[in-house]
Symmetry: C2
């Protein structure tokens, strides 16, 4: 029997982990990535090319069972072109929304999902009026191209607004929201509409980059979980989404505000490899292939620590009970995600103890 | 930083699962296998050649961090030749013992490990005397080359002995032992001698091939676990073993008899991928690389079902909660191990319910 072929747009660590989850299921993988060193290349065939390159897209899509993506920056037009040759899931409409902060926030608004106040800013001349509507402090964000905190500028007072110069990209201004903590919800929707959510995750960012996730989020109540699931379900249904979707959330006084979506497997879901009945990677593959979804129930308590810029001493990680090392085999560079470590434990207390050990050795 | 390179003699499903465990640790793999279709080839570079071929062995060993094997039939002399170019772990002495049933049983005897009565049989002429010493029923087994029940002949009564003709291979006769059940113990020993055991596994064979394993074995007592660990420890220390060793056992009236060893990761340890803190595959790699060993503690209760000759209907497997499908992507053939399914659960009862569902759909 021929193996189903999954073609992935992007060949980074997310593609690599998709393949590690899919190979045991009997799948074969192809990746399209601009870099010949793409880390997923070790696990399938690699086409080196721009993610918007029509010839490269045709090469990877032709004969594929399904085309999916591991990066929300994939040009939506390219993904649509590939759809002439093989099903593309999730539908590229999700890329449009995720790539344009205005579209994204307006989608939240249209679906009645709570979010921060926001205003479009077409260019510098519209900034003052927009800030009057959102109030200060606020953040000026380009509509397109921002990632891990890039393309953003904080405006605390009127002087900060006045100092903005040479900002010509279409943008939004968004009020800074008070929040108690950052959470995310990972959900998966099958081809038949079957929808399942993982327990909400608590995330700590530093310098705009995710550092630590804990799952289930500490003191997660059934009400909070239900609120997160309702947000995810509205988005999944509206986008007729197939695959894993991540929604980043702020929690304040027990209420959830949606911040942004990622139409792909997500860094805050890496803990599911060891910490859930079915990993986000396996469930994404099951979904895009039209297969039955797997249980999203957690297995005990987990935490994930990102390794940014440099990897910790390997043996020190391996000595921590319940620690699982994931080395993406990428060359070190400041700010680059090189790997992650997941700790699993039977209780939240034990998880936090093991997490503290990991945090101590991760630079 | 250069990735450590693990060269594996043999490229079947065990090699494949070693690579799936090792790639997240930042390892690269090479395989030597006689078949260009070897299933592990998708996960590393594949040298096609005989496992005893000196040139092929040199090609795979040169520059490797360590050489290991995934089949106990690897010619021990070839493994020794490779040791001139890279460390070979476990030491090929373990291959000598595992490949010769007489050496194996004499090792048990020398170490004071309980086993069935046995007698060497050099050729047909020595059979009658050997049977007088062991008694009947007994099994005549070739010293070398037996695997999954091949090369064996059962002798229930004197007429069966008289009927043996043309049996010229050096063999042993072994008394049939009464047993309540079959168990196995998987143990791992590090380069520094650190030794850890997984919980004993209960195994059901049919037609000489493993069908179902349950772990921890039902009604596993601390005494029985300790007895299994003592057997494994004697063997590991005697062989100065580095890596994972499996010992197949019979239990009768609460006592353990050793049956045979497999100096490699083992089919009855596949459940550890999802069912233990550290899988047998990861711990084997940690051991042969001289890295710290991982916890062998179980995560709940697990069972594994082999898929022999044909794979079950995929969606039916995926619909069972806690079921994990492992498709080796091998072409179907009668009696061939094509994949396995592991179910995990919080309790032994739930494990057995899920196992019953799997058994129903596996042909």
């Amino acid at each position: 029997m021929e193996s189903p072929i999954v073609s992935v747009l992007g060949g980074g660590q997310l593609g690599r982990m998709l393949a590690l989850a899919g190979i045991p299921l009997g799948l074969e993988f192809r990746f399209l990535d601009p870099s010949a060193d793409a880390t997923a290349g070790a696990l399938g065939s690699l086409v080196v090319g721009d993610l918007g390159d029509r010839d490269a897209l045709a090469e990877i899509a032709r004969g594929a069972t399904v085309v999916t993506y591991e990066w929300e920056g994939v040009p939506a037009d390219g993904a649509r072109a590939a759809a002439a040759l093989a099903p593309v899931r999730p539908d590229p409409r999700a890329l449009d929304v995720a790539q344009d902060r205005l579209d994204e926030k307006q989608t939240f608004e249209r679906l009645g999902i709570d979010r921060a106040r926001f205003q479009p800013v077409d260019d510098r001349s519209g900034l003052d009026e927009a800030v009057r509507a959102t109030g200060l402090p606020a953040i000026l964000k380009t509509r397109r191209g921002g990632y891990d905190g890039k393309g953003q500028r904080r405006l605390d007072q009127a002087a900060d607004v006045a100092a903005v110069d040479g900002w010509d990209d279409p943008s939004i201004v968004e009020a800074v929201v008070l929040f108690d903590r950052e959470l995310s919800v990972l959900a998966v929707r099958g081809l038949d509409g079957d929808t399942r959510c993982y327990p909400l995750v608590e995330n700590e960012h530093r310098g705009g980059i995710l550092r630590v996730s804990r799952a289930p989020a500490p003191e997660l109540t059934a009400d909070l979980q239900a609120a997160g699931e309702a947000i995810a379900a509205k988005l999944l249904d509206d986008l007729d989404y197939v695959g894993v979707l991540a929604v980043e959330l702020f929690e304040h006084d027990g209420k959830l505000l949606a911040n942004e979506i990622a139409p792909r497997v997500h860094n805050s879901g890496h803990w599911t490899i060891e910490g859930a009945d079915t990993s986000q990677f396996e469930n994404h593959l099951r979904a895009v292939l039209g297969w039955p979804l797997g249980s999203t129930a957690p297995r005990g308590h987990s935490a994930m620590v990102n390794c940014i810029g440099t990897m910790p001493e390997r043996d020190a990680v391996l000595r921590i009970p319940g620690a699982h090392l994931h080395d993406y085999e990428k060359s070190p560079r400041a700010g680059r995600k090189l790997g992650h470590i997941t700790v699993t434990a039977g209780t939240a207390e034990e998880r936090d103890e093991r997490l503290a050990e990991v945090v101590q050795i991760v630079p």
